[in-house]
């Protein structure tokens, strides 16, 4: 039982290495091995969820081995209410990625599967690490497989996109590294808990906050450091887009909750308006940008940026709520909303990218103008696409509603204007998403190529069906998710509003 988290990290990585060693010639075995490994990893999250104690905010499933005694750095893993849902999401989303690439990837498929499985292990490692050095180790190592995924299997401008992606995220991360080492020199070890507990002067906190902001804002991504994302999404293969949108963007949000708020609470209180402003700009301005896109993937990419704005908004409105009402419960609602929004956006954006992938595999175009009237030839697909599109607009009954609703309510307590501005997105996202659906799915068949389209095959049906169930489940019955998070969120809020000075 005690090595559960290690298994979650290392089983996919080991399987990935094995597939690499088997090589392209044994790809039939490699493919099944990839599916088996991703399913085993997903299965292992069941006991993780089942045995998770929802009454405490403490880390659970703790593993601790000495790693680098000289730095007092440990191979230390654990989960709490913030990391658990994201780990489950990671394991859940890797399965459709493996299945979606089954016959589509013709170029070096063994390396393709290996890259995704290694990514999966590293991403779970990021969420599970309780030692800052280990966290950073996974955080950076993850860039290598993603760099290769976009660069090898991407579209025509893949090289530009992948180098931009790498350098952007690397630039943000190295400043975080500098901040982590600074805190290590002061604290004497790398445990995240001791970073959260150590006293820091306001000046130190400001510097640290800015360093973290650089790292996490790039990952989320927040306006104005978002420009790598549309490029990376457009050029990445379908699986790459799914993982990028569903998991990698969440690392930014996770970083804010795990590091920025508890480690630099006073600086967060002081600079909360900065983050809120940037979030609202992302929500509204990027929403408008999404409206004018001609490329389906680009549209969904901008929609991601806009929706991720809710995550940072939900996390940082807490200071003003506490200032206005003094209610920690109310502050917690914003964080709850941010967390649900992350999970929900992971499912929805992943599903939408898979939908685009389904179309792309048939017509090899992502241009909205090349489609029209898809519902006539692909009715089942159209049903799924409409469901995910409605979820993206935040329709009640889907997961998209829960997170956005919580954040808007919470920000109303902070300021009427925050919630009013945030609510604009409900209109905007309906606008760009439904318009996309109207142009692509509905209407008369516009071209002979669309007329020749085949509806979903069994594999695609399975993938989209599973995601649809998840989206509806979280939308109708979010209680288990909220219950898992509750003690941790409560603890986080009390950490974030306490002063360290």
């Amino acid at each position: 039982m005690h090595a559960l988290l290690s298994c979650l990290i290392w089983i996919p990585i080991a399987a990935g290495v094995l597939i690499l060693l088997l090589g392209e010639r044994n790809i039939v075995i490699g493919r099944w091995l990839a599916l088996a490994a991703s399913l085993v990893t997903l299965a292992l999250t069941v006991p993780l969820w089942a045995h998770f104690d929802t009454t405490t905010a403490a880390m659970q499933f703790i593993e601790q081995l000495p790693w680098i005694p000289r730095f007092r750095a440990y191979y230390a893993l654990g989960v709490d209410g913030i990391s658990l849902p994201l780990i489950v999401l990671t394991a859940f989303m890797t399965v459709p990625v493996v299945i979606a690439g089954w016959t589509v990837i013709e170029k070096r498929p063994a390396q393709y599967y290996a890259a995704f499985l290694i990514m999966e292990g590293l991403m779970i490692g990021v969420f599970a690490a309780t030692d800052a050095l280990l966290f950073y180790f996974f955080w950076e190592a993850m860039l290598i497989p993603m760099f290769l995924i976009i660069g090898i299997w991407g579209g025509p401008r893949r090289v530009y996109a992948t180098i931009k992606f790498f350098l952007y995220t690397f630039l943000g991360s190295v400043f975080m590294l500098a901040a982590l080492i600074y805190m290590y020199v002061k604290a004497g070890d790398y445990a995240i808990a001791s970073f959260q507990a150590m006293p820091l002067s306001l000046i130190e906190q400001r510097w640290i906050f800015v360093a973290f902001l650089l790292a996490f804002a790039v990952k989320v991504p927040m306006w104005p450091v978002h420009t790598w994302l549309p490029d990376a999404h457009v050029e990445a293969p379908t699986g790459g887009s799914v993982i990028l949108a569903a998991i990698m963007l969440k690392m930014g949000g996770y970083g804010f909750l795990r590091f920025s708020l508890p480690v630099a609470p006073d600086a967060s209180r002081e600079l909360d308006l900065l983050v809120i402003t940037l979030s609202l700009i992302a929500v509204i301005y990027i929403g408008y940008v999404a409206l004018v896109q001609l490329d389906m993937k680009k549209l969904i990419a901008y929609s991601s940026i806009s929706h991720m704005g809710f995550v940072t908004l939900g996390a940082f409105v807490m200071y003003e709520i506490v200032r206005n009402t003094g209610s920690l419960q109310g502050a917690g609602m914003g964080v709850d909303g941010a967390m649900v929004q992350m999970v929900s956006h992971g499912l929805i954006s992943g599903a939408l990218f898979l939908c685009v992938g389904v179309l792309y595999d048939r017509l090899h175009s992502r241009q909205i103008a090349d489609y029209g009237g898809v519902v006539n030839t692909m009715p089942v697909f159209a049903a799924f696409m409409v469901l995910f599109a409605l979820a993206n607009t935040g329709l009640p009954g889907t997961s998209g509603f829960v997170g956005e609703f919580l954040v808007i309510i919470a920000s109303f307590r902070a300021s009427f204007w925050y919630s009013a501005l945030a609510a604009v997105t409900l209109i905007l996202s309906s606008g760009y998403t439904l318009w996309l659906v109207k142009r692509v799915v509905f209407g008369p068949v516009t071209s002979p190529r669309v007329a020749a389209l085949q509806d979903l095959n069994g594999r695609e049906y399975l993938v989209l069906g599973a995601l649809a169930v998840a989206v509806l489940l979280v939308g109708v019955w979010p209680a288990p998710l909220l219950k898992v998070m509750q003690p941790t969120v409560h603890h986080l809020v009390s950490q974030a509003v306490a002063t360290k000075l």
């Binding site: 680098i68 005694p69 660069g151 090289v159 992948t162 350098l167 190295v174 500098a178 020199v185």
Partner: protein, 481 residues
Amino acid sequence: MDQTLISVASLAPAVAEIWLVFAICVLLLVEVFAGTKRPGLTGTLTLLALVIGAALTVRYGQVPHRVLLFDRTYVADELGVVLKLAGFLFVAVALLYSRDYLENRNIQRGEYYVLALTALLGVFVLVSANSLVTVYLGVELLALSVYAMVAFDRDSGVSAESAMKYFVLGAIASGMLLYGMSLIYGLTGTLDLGEIAARLHAPLTPGVVLGLTFIVVAVAFKLGAVPFHMWLPDVYEGAPTSVTLFISTVPKIAYFALALRLLAQGLAGTESEWTQMLAALVVLTLIVGNVVAIVQTNLKRMLAYSAIANVGFILLGFVAGTADGYSAALYYTLQYVLVTLGSFGVILLAGAKGFEADRLDDYKGLQQRDPLLAVTMMVAMFSLAGVPPFIGFWAKLRIIQALWETNHLWLVVLAVTMSVVGAYYYLRVVKLMYFDDPTTTAPAAAREPGVRFALGLNAAAALALGLLPGPLLDLCARLIH
């Protein structure tokens, strides 16, 4: 009788040097009598000599504590033993990678191996120096051997040109070093580094600062720090690749030792002065090395600028001026040599008879032609960029840690920013190998499986030491204290 016995036993700490001298003499004779008949023989014997040397050092060269020999001109300590073992290992690997290359270019001659060994002897003398004279002896022995190696391909005009450039500029640097030493000697009245350390302390006279300046310049020249770096790209590009491999690896250890023995130990009392001088050099080195590397089209030349940038990081450890900083610099040097062996090893193996794989474009689609070479090069590039899980990450981490401990905020910011700039040109190599299609379908020439295995091991070491960096970090810390 008794006395001879004691003195022979007391020579044991210098067994590495003694063995090397012996081996050099024997190999020269072997070459004279059997060289033309069996061209590969000297090479094989050289590898054997290196293995035996390492074994002898382990068996007899160990010292329980610091020992001074030969009238206090020679110091034997654990640092020396480890650096010598590293020297044996790295030279052996470098020569192993070079064999095919030398044969293809008809420069597989015994003198090449003998020169490599004399260079190694110079490294050893430098590593164990405890007197200004010994330092100088080591520097010159190493430098003269390397000049000859750069010019080894005597039919190549480029090689001759770069050797000439190297020699002239190197001679100037040696002159600087000697002049600085003479000033220090004149003002302290001793050549013994320990004595100098004891006699030099604040307030410093202008003469000492002047002498120190010359020494710092000479060290900066030897390491290739900006603005004393001009020779380095030309020599890296012009020299036969096997020689480039050689000079980019083992001498780095020697010049690390030079900086450590001279500046950190001998001139410890003037630390506040030379850390300032080095800080200025480091800022220039990091910026110039990284930025200029971006526009290179020749891989050897790009790696030369990368070497300059990495020297900047090594010197950052010295700028910190603490034991932690020196051990960070030591760790950085060792990992740099390990990784560089891999990257130049790939350049050597990717070439063929009459084809030098030194342009960046030669690496297009290498992944499809030879996955092992591509993967080794990729590991080297990510490691040099400082991305985990490879060893280069820890080296950068260690340096930044040492800088934070001494509160060098702006140097930290510069170092991390420049490592992002550096990432760009390393990624470009990965891009060529993995994302582009090959321009030629010819598979890279088949090689001895042993050499390929060694190259794979080299890459695996960079990964394994990155996953579990603890032991090597501990070793480096212990050696400095």
